[in-house]
Every structure is written in C-alpha cells, then in structure tokens.
Amino acid sequence: MMDTRTVEVRPADSAASQEPTGVLAGQFRKRLAGRGQEFVLDVEFQVAAGFTILFGASGAGKTTLLDCVAGLAQPDSGRIAIGEQILFDAGQALNVPVAKRHVGYVFQDLALFPHLTAQQNVEYGLAHLPEPQRLERAAAMLEAFRIERLARRSAREISGGESQRVALARTLVTDPAVLLLDEPLAALDAPTKAKIMDDLRDWNRAHNIPILYVTHSRDEVFALGERVMVLHAGRIVAAGTPHDVMTAPQQETVAQLTGFENIFDATVDAVHPERGTMICRLADSCQTGAVLLETPLVRAAVGSRLRVGIRAGDILLATSLPTGLSARNVIPGRIRSVEQHDMIVSARVQCGVEMEVHLTLAARDALQLGLRKEVWLVVKTHSCHLMLS
C-alpha cells in the first residue's frame, strides 16, 4: 500500500549519478474557466539542465504551467515529457499520476507538514526505502542545507528562511528528475535568498537536473537565471538568456507587462557602442523638428525600426531650461492638458510627440502648470525601454 511505485520514471536511488537528466519539454494547452473570464494557457517550451527562470506578472499562468508539469492540473491537449519519459500525452490518453512523475515541486507557501518535525518532513518522500538508508539520506540532505539543528523541531516552529530550506531539502531528497520552484523564496531578504540559492546551486552541480524557477521580480531574472522564459497572458512571448530577453528589443507584450503610458514608433538614428547608448528618432515628429532620444544600446542597426516605451512617472518636468543634469534627454514642449486622477496629476505635453507625464499634486501647484505653459521634459537614457514593433 505504501510502496505503489511499480512504474519508475527513473531509478529511485541515483543520488550519485552525475549524468545530465532529460530535458523537460512541454507543449500543451489548458483552459481555465473561472470568475467570469476564461483563461487559456497555451505554451511550448524546453527546459534543459540548470536554472531557467519563468518570468511573468501575477495572473500570467505561471503556477498553472507548473501544476500541469507536476500533474496537479491536467492539460486539455498536448504533451509533457522529461527526456524519453512521457508524463502526459493527450493523444495517447497517457497521464502519469503525480506521485510517479518524479517532479519536485516547492510551492510558494511551502506546504510543510505542520504536524511533523523537519526531519520527518524530509523523510516523507523516502517511505519506500529501508530505515537505515532513509535516515542516512535525510541526514545528508539536512546537512547539505545546513538545517541539522532543526531536525527535531516541529515544522510549525521553524522560522522563515529556514522553512524554505526544509521545503527544498524535503523535495530534493527524493531525487526528482525536474525541480519546480514557485517563488518559494519570494518572502526572503536578498542575502538570505542568495545563501539558499548558493546551496541549491551546489546541490545541482552534482545532480544537474532542469530547475524551473518562477518569479515576477525583474531583479531575480538577472541575479539567478541562466535562461529565462517570459510568460504573458498564458503564452511564452520570449525565451533566451536574461541579457537577450531583458535587454534586447522585446516583444511589445513583454514591455507592457510593466506598463508604459508612452509608446512611440522610432527609427535608430545613430549607434554608439563605446558609450552603450544609441540615438532614436521618434516618428510623428516631422512638423516641429525631430525629437531625438538617447536610449540604451540594443542589438539594432542604424535605420531599423523600433518602439520606445517611457513610463509617465519616469519623466521629470521643468518650467525653465534645466542645466547641469546627468539625464541626457531634455525636450522642450507645451502643456496641452492637465488632469487629476485621484492623487496623481497627469499632464500631456506636446513636444513634437505627445507625452504623458505623471506628477504629484504638490508639484503641479509649485510649478503652476496651466494650459500652453512652456516646459522642458527630462528623460534619463535608461528610462527609455526599447521593444520590437
């Protein structure tokens, strides 16, 4: 009854093996109906050994994707496999039960068993082993994650940071073929998180399995990822190295994840690789003279067409020509409208193109902003976000 693992996805006891395990490959569709609106997750991806970040805003479908891989949710169609091992294939009506997938999954809320000790939590997935082996494996894991002294502590009493370590140890001790991490470290401060990640990396140097790490934090993408996939509204809209995906001109949807009030068509006017910048000419700026913006450098040739996104809250507004600035873009213009939305004032400025600027009530009053008032817009180079049109 306890040991029903007649079908093994891979040998249960292969802790010492260093050969890379199979690539996690998925191509599936899952329709979720709920709260009036329908959501469709429709993805195709490959996750090789090592860290891959799954990046997306909340509601993009990240947890649903992980649930499908783990078998906690069933796709409507498609296929999921780890190397040669098929976990799910709608065509063959094949659906390996969760318990037999060997997919490690650490939830956002960790889901430690509250009535068990840390040691018992870690031993939970080893019920198929005889006791001496079980104790040995659990002890080694507790040591690898530096939580030996918590072994007899009840999971209820273990603090943040340490409970994350227990949850990781509990999952990794079962030697999963793939590891899914659903923002388990989101609540931790950066130094604690970094230490846990180091231990996780050490573990994976020996095991070399695909690890899919979910986050909605941009910073984590650069800090942790070897590769990144961007999930937006149920689709993977970009994939590659963090540098490629996050700094290369992006699909507009990627950029819109974080919301840009100002998006303009632009042409690359000049490229300055030595300074890490380039100059973009904004479209619709023919009548009043061209609006040129200095932007960060991306892989784009002179003359190629891009779009530039600027957040309304990133733009400074001055009523006289500012000097001695680090910001490289100072654009003259006139106020076309000033509207108050709740506690934010939204000013529209005609400066060759029309830009939306957000400022506080106090700033509006101090600057005495009125219609047709002459102003200068100040935009930092790195506030200009480039995307593919």
């Binding site: 306890m2 906690l72 039960p97 037999k100 999954y105 809320d109 939970y124 997935g125």
Partner: protein, 224 residues
C-alpha cells in the same frame, strides 16, 4: 438503578462508535473530496437522521430487517433468525441514526486540511492512501474526537429507534432510556431520576471532553 440496561447501552454505544469510525472515515473522505455533481444528494441522505423523527427511521429499519424485505429474508436465510428485536438490529438502527454525527465533523475537518499539503504529499511520491493516513488524518484529530464523542453520546441517549427496532427485552435490547420511560410509566420517579441523572452526567462529561480537548471545532467564537 437497572445496571443491566446501563451496561447494555454502554456496549451499544461503544460498538456503534467503533463501527461509525470504520464507515464514517471513507464516507467522509468521499464527501469532502468527491467532485461528483450529485454528491449533494448523498450528503442529504447522510444528514437525514438529524431531522427525521426517530420513530420514522426506526420503523423503516424494522421493516427492512423483517421477513418481508429482501434484506431481511436474505439474513434469515443466512442465519435462521431475524435481526429485528436483537442487539444486532439495535446496532444497525443506531448506526444509521448517529451517522451524520460522525460523518459531518469528519468531513468538515478533512475539507479543512490545506489542499496544498495533499499536493505536496503526492509530488513527494506518496499514494493518496498514504497521504490520507500521514497527513489528512493526523491533522483531523479534533474532528475525529468530536465525531466519535457525539455518536457515542447520541447513541447513549437514543430512545425512538431503539424502541421501534429492539422493543424492550431485558438484557438484549432494553436500554437506559427505555428503562427511564418504564419507570416513569410505573410512577417510580426516584428510580427514573437516578438513571436520568447518570445519563445527563455522562453526556455532559463527553461533551465537556470534546470542547475541552479541541476548542476549534464547533466552538463559538474566533478560531485559534
């Protein structure tokens, strides 16, 4: 004080509680986790004894155990005698009568266990059965105590079903509540009072244990 009736009742309550633990756990598990669209009908049937007059329930159990029902005929064919007016018949009637008092607290505490814990159990390679015994059951102990205690106390004091199914045979089906009734009929108020007081004290003690041991389940007031 009719000690024979008291021991018989105690025996009945213990047997019924143990059997209800066996029947109630799988039934409560199914009620807590099944996604069958007609599940509510089963829930309604389980809850029926709460509102049904005991005489109605007792009447149908009596008919079902008697020689006119297929069930009764099958049992008579098997053993040579009827279950009506026997201790076994009492047990069956009492199980049905106390079923919701066991199943509802069980199901409520199963459903209260965080679903993510069962998901974690499954991803760690545990079968649903192992997850049930290692995770759901230990986290449902307060609900289990409540269910068992309530069915025990409920069976101790039952009257209508017992009278319909068991009659009033001393040492076989004569329980304390029937004893009390008989004494009142015979104007033995002192004797009735002694037995009634014992039953009152016992039921109070059981409920005090339930509420003392677990202050969460069925407690009035904020949880935790």
């Amino acid at each position: 004080m009719d000690w024979q009736a008291f021991w018989l009742t105690l025996q009945l309550a213990v047997v019924v509680s143990v059997v209800l633990l066996g029947i109630g756990l799988p039934l409560a598990y199914w009620i807590a986790f099944s996604r069958w669209r007609w599940k509510f009908l089963v829930e309604a049937v389980v809850a029926l004894p709460i509102v049904l007059p005991p005489t109605v329930l007792g009447f149908y159990v009596l008919v079902a155990l008697g020689p006119r029902s297929p069930l009764g005929r099958w049992w008579i064919g098997l053993t040579g005698h009827t279950l009506a007016f026997t201790f076994g018949g009492l047990v069956i009637g009492s199980i049905l009568y106390s079923l919701p008092f066991a199943v509802q607290p069980f199901a409520a505490s199963f459903a209260g266990v965080d679903r993510r814990l069962m998901a974690a159990s499954a991803t760690l390679g545990a079968s649903p059965l192992r997850g049930f015994f290692r995770v759901i059951l230990p986290l449902s102990v307060p609900g289990l105590i409540t269910g068992i205690a309530l069915s025990f106390a409920h069976t101790m004091g039952e009257f209508g079903v017992v009278l319909m199914v068991g009659g009033n045979i001393p040492g076989v089906t004569r329980t304390v509540s029937i004893d009390i009734y008989d004494r009142v009929q015979a104007s033995d108020y002192a004797g009735a009072n002694a037995t009634a007081l014992l039953l009152l004290g016992l039921c109070f003690a059981v409920l005090a244990v339930v509420y003392g041991v677990n202050r969460k389940v069925w407690a009035v007031g904020p949880a935790k």
